[in-house]
Symmetry: C2
Subunit: 215 residues, 2 copies
DNA sequence: ACCTGAACACCGTTCAAGT
DNA sequence: ACCTGAACACCGTTCAAGT
């Protein structure tokens, strides 16, 4: 290895070689460790020790950097959900409940990151990596749903929709909790999750045909 | 009535007399009619035809103005939910389903306003009017839930929690739909609501004791 | 090839000065 | 009593100039 190459990898003056990753790490640490979700791109540059214009050599815009952080967030969420299901030896119903619990827990433990993942600035034209990472996390939920589904196992559309419903439920609980709507209402998010597990998720595990129509 | 008084009420030069209301209307129209939820306070002032510093005579901060708009949004939501329930002659279960549908519909029809109501800038230290308006809207949901509850009618805590769960469900559906997560997933928000009405809400109408524990 | 510093058009907020 | 215009400290983004 030449002296120049070694210098490139260790020295961090002017050209540091992997500023893109450093910026992403700085932004992620602002969200995860300092819990701030409305930080500026200039904050990120400051944290990384570069000028406020430097990020534009590696990201097209602030939005693109945020999308990368959000994608990493969804990947971490997928890992958390998978960890909750791989402690198997349990009934599918319990696995679904555990997955839902893990989802809400992730949001409550990483409020800034979770808010960033679902932030309105990323709504339109989501980059492929973000879309894929989100699909990956949702996929865990869908597969757990499939495994505990007692109806026609070939009915993909219904399973997909039930999984979306489950996602909406845990997302709603997480968001209401993060936004402070559950504090005075008498129920914290953990208690709500417990009730979900007791009264609502079992309903997912029954086939549609077993359920009565609205009276 | 003196000439001065009449002049005060009609002329809008320099002192117009009800700039506070005019500003709120300008902001609401930016959200409702132009569909923008990230407008600036200076945008509001421009729309109202005053200088960018004028709002500070009537609102302590941008946040206080936003909170007022959000409160009006929750009041409109409460009206929409009440309108959905007052077409009675129906079973409580159907009323609950209709209320949920009306909730999601409100969010889909007023995306900017709905986002503003649940925007992260209003999270901490919510003004009383905003808190009350939100409680009012939630109260409609809770009362419908109570009326279709077949379990112990005196168990306030359980009813409250079930209502919170229902809120989380429709909030989650609305948010996922607004954020574009349901487009490629195969289910739009209306289809999801239909499934909620068919498979999930009926579960709310059964007492807890009728439900089996997780297997 | 990569980074900086100045620059531009914004923003929320403050305040002396105007009516 | 209410509004304005200038000012301050920010922001995202661009770009000529530096290494």
């Amino acid at each position: 290895m030449s002296i120049e190459q070694a210098s490139k990898m260790t020295k961090r003056s002017y050209h540091h070689g992997d500023l893109r990753r450093v910026l992403a790490e700085a932004a992620l640490s602002l969200a995860v460790e300092e819990g701030s979700w409305d930080f500026s791109l200039r904050d990120v540059a400051r944290k990384a020790g570069v000028s406020h214009a430097a990020p534009y050599r590696h990201y097209e815009s602030k939005r693109e950097l945020m999308a990368e952080i959000a994608a990493q967030g969804f990947e971490a969420l997928r890992d958390a959900l998978e960890a909750a299901t791989s402690t198997s030896q349990e009934s599918p119903g319990r696995q679904l409940a555990r997955t839902g619990e893990a989802y809400v827990r992730f949001g409550l433990e990483q409020p800034a990151l979770y808010r960033l993942m679902f932030g309105p600035s990323l709504v339109s034209n989501r980059p492929a990596r973000l879309q894929d990472a989100a699909s990956g996390a949702f996929g865990v939920l869908r597969e757990v749903m499939r495994s505990c589904w007692t109806g026609d196992p070939g009915d993909e559309a219904v399973i997909q929709q039930q999984a979306l419903l489950a996602w909406a439920q845990v997302h709603g609980i997480t968001m209401l909790a993060l936004d402070g709507w559950l504090e005075k209402g008498g129920g914290d998010a953990e208690a709500l999750m417990e009730r979900v597990a007791r009264t609502w998720l079992p309903g997912f595990c029954e086939s549609l045909s077993q359920r009565t129509a609205l009276g």
